[in-house]
C-alpha cells in the first residue's frame, strides 16, 4: 500500500480554516456558556420554587440527552415547528451553548454550595446585602475552586465541536471528512485530522493539569 501525503499538503489551507472554525466555535461557546452557566446556577439557588424547578428541568434535560440530538433538534425542529431559521453556525453555537451552560451551571452550583455557610454569615453580619455577599465573598472563592472543572469542560467542548459537522458547519472534522470523500485518501486525511486535534488539544489538557496542581496547593 502506498501513501500519498501530498493530499494533506495540498489541502492545508482548508484544514487550517477548519481548525480555525473549531477554535472559534469552542471559544464563542464558552464565552456564552460561562455567564449562561452562572445564570442557571443562580436561578437554581433562587428562593422561589417555581424558578428553581423550571431551571432544574432545563438543566437536567440538556444534561440527560445526547448533544448530537440537541443539535439535530435545533437544526430540524426549530424551523419546522416554530419557523425559526438559524444559520448552520448559529445552530451549532446555540446547541453547544445550551449543552455546555447546563454542565457549567452544575459546576458553578457545586462551587457556590461548597463555600461554608459561615462565610455568608460573616459577610451578612457586616451588613452586606445578599448580592453583595455573592459578588464580593462567595463567587470569588467559588470561581477559584471550580476553575479546574471548567477547564476540563473546555477540553471536552473542544472535541465535542466535531459533532457540528453533521449540520455542515465547516469545522476541522467537516473539512477533513470532506477531503477524505473527495480524494479517498482515508488514512492520510484522518491521520492529519488526528494530528491537528492532538496538536491543539494537548496543550489545553496540559494547562488543565497545571491548573489542577496549582489550585490544589492553594487550597
Amino acid at each position: 500500500m502506498t501513501f500519498d501525503w501530498s493530499v494533506v499538503w495540498d489541502n492545508r489551507w482548508r484544514l487550517i480554516s477548519g481548525a480555525e472554525m473549531t477554535i472559534v466555535l469552542t471559544a464563542t461557546t464558552m464565552a456564552v456558556a460561562l455567564p449562561g452557566g452562572l445564570l442557571l446556577a443562580l436561578l437554581r439557588l433562587s428562593p422561589f420554587r417555581v424558578v428553581r424547578s423550571f431551571t432544574t428541568g432545563i438543566v437536567e434535560f440538556f444534561r440527560a440527552t445526547p448533544l448530537i440530538l440537541q443539535i439535530y433538534w435545533i437544526f430540524y425542529v426549530l424551523p419546522a415547528a416554530f419557523d425559526i431559521r438559524l444559520s448552520e453556525f448559529a445552530t451549532a453555537l446555540l446547541g453547544l451553548s445550551l449543552n455546555v451552560s447546563s454542565f457549567n451551571s452544575e459546576t458553578f452550583r457545586a462551587g457556590i454550595q461548597s463555600i461554608r455557610p459561615g462565610q455568608w454569615n460573616a459577610a451578612l453580619a457586616l451588613g452586606m446585602s445578599k448580592p453583595q455577599v455573592l459578588h464580593k465573598i462567595i463567587l470569588p472563592q467559588a470561581m477559584l475552586r471550580v476553575l479546574p472543572a471548567l477547564a476540563s469542560t473546555w477540553v471536552s467542548l473542544f472535541k465535542d465541536t466535531s459533532l457540528v459537522s453533521i449540520i455542515a458547519v465547516a469545522d476541522l472534522s467537516y473539512v477533513a471528512l470532506k477531503i477524505r470523500s473527495e480524494t479517498y485518501r482515508v488514512l492520510e486525511v484522518l491521520t492529519a485530522m488526528a494530528a491537528l486535534y492532538c496538536l491543539m488539544g494537548y496543550p489545553q489538557a496540559k494547562l488543565v493539569d497545571w491548573l489542577h496542581r496549582r489550585l490544589k496547593v492553594a487550597e
Binding site: Q119, N121, A122, Q141
Partner: protein
C-alpha cells in the same frame, strides 16, 4: 476608634437606665427542639455581658438571633428602640451597628488581611478604598497585626486570625460587639492574646455580649453574667454573685462541672492573661 471610654460608666446592674440591646421572651425552635424558650435580659451601654452555660443551651443561637442571622419564633429583640425582627426593619442597617466575631473566625480567605478589614466599610458604607484602608490599618495596629496587613488569612495563626476578625467587626464602628465563643477554636497558647484584645476593648467602653467558656474572663471582665440552660436564662447577675453565691442549683452544677469552686477573685487573677502581653 472607640472614644466613648471616659464618658461611659459601666452599670453593674442589668436593669440600669441605658439599655442598648434588649431580649424580650425570645423563642426559637428547630423542629421539635426548643432552642430558646423565652429568653429575657438586657444589655446596657458600656456593659460586658457574658453568656455562660452548657453547650447547646442556646447561647450562640441567641447571638445569631440578635443580629437577625436567624429568625425568631416569638418575643422581640430590641436594638436601641428598634425591633430587629420587625418586617419593616431593615436588618442590614441594624447589622452594621452590631459587630460579630465567630468561633471559626470566618475571615475571607481570598482577601488580604487589610482587605478583610476594609471590605465592610467599602462595600456597605461606600467608603473610598484609600480611606477604608487607612481605617483598617489603624485597627490592625490596635490588635497588634499591622505587619500582617498584606498577608492572606491562611498565613496567620488562629489567635491572629481572630484578632483580625475583631478588627473587621470594629471597622463598621458598631455600637455593640457580639462574640460567639471567640476562643473556643483556638490553641491554648493563643487564647490569651485574643482575650487581652477583648479586655482592652471592654476597658475602652465598648458594649459587648460574649458567649464564652472562659470563666476567668467572664468573672474578671464581665459586668453582667447570664447563665443559660436548655434555652432558658436560669440566673443572671453581677459576676461576684453568679460565681461566688449562685442562687440556683443549675448554676452551681454547671460551675462545679467546669471545676469551678468559687475561688476568690484574687486567686483567679493569676489565671487571667495580662492585657499588656499582646505582641
Amino acid at each position: 476608634m472607640i472614644t466613648r471610654a471616659a464618658t461611659v460608666e459601666r452599670p453593674r446592674i442589668g436593669s440600669g437606665a441605658a439599655p442598648i440591646l434588649r431580649f424580650e421572651g425570645v423563642c426559637k425552635r428547630y423542629g421539635p427542639l426548643e432552642a430558646l424558650a423565652g429568653v429575657t435580659f438586657q444589655v446596657n451601654r458600656g456593659e460586658v455581658v457574658c453568656l455562660i452555660g452548657p453547650s447547646g443551651s442556646g447561647k450562640s443561637t441567641l447571638l445569631r438571633c440578635a443580629n437577625a442571622l436567624e429568625s425568631i419564633d416569638g418575643g422581640r429583640v430590641i436594638l436601641d428602640g428598634v425591633d430587629v425582627h420587625d418586617r419593616r426593619t431593615d436588618a442590614r442597617k441594624l447589622r452594621r451597628r452590631m459587630g460579630m466575631v465567630f468561633q471559626n473566625f470566618e475571615l475571607f480567605p481570598h482577601l488580604t488581611v487589610l482587605r478583610n478589614v476594609a471590605v465592610g466599610p467599602t462595600t456597605v458604607l461606600g467608603m473610598s478604598p484609600p480611606k477604608a484602608a487607612e481605617r483598617a490599618m489603624e485597627l490592625l495596629r490596635k490588635v497588634g497585626l499591622a505587619e500582617k496587613a498584606s498577608q492572606h488569612p491562611a498565613a496567620l495563626s488562629g489567635g491572629q486570625q481572630q484578632r483580625v476578625a475583631i478588627a473587621r467587626a470594629l471597622a463598621m464602628q458598631p455600637d455593640v460587639m457580639l462574640f460567639d465563643e471567640p476562643t473556643s477554636a483556638l490553641d491554648p497558647e493563643t487564647i490569651g492574646e485574643v482575650l487581652s484584645v477583648m479586655k482592652r476593648l471592654a476597658d475602652e467602653g465598648m458594649t459587648m455580649v460574649v458567649v464564652t467558656h472562659e470563666m476567668d474572663f467572664a468573672k474578671r471582665v464581665g459586668s453582667w453574667i447570664v447563665v443559660f440552660d436548655h434555652g432558658k436564662v436560669v440566673e443572671q447577675g453581677p459576676p461576684r454573685q453568679v460565681f461566688e453565691e449562685p442562687t440556683v442549683q443549675r448554676t452551681r452544677d454547671f460551675l462545679s462541672h467546669l471545676g469551678w469552686h468559687g475561688e476568690s477573685l484574687a486567686a483567679s487573677d493569676l489565671l487571667v492573661h495580662s492585657p499588656s502581653n499582646t505582641p
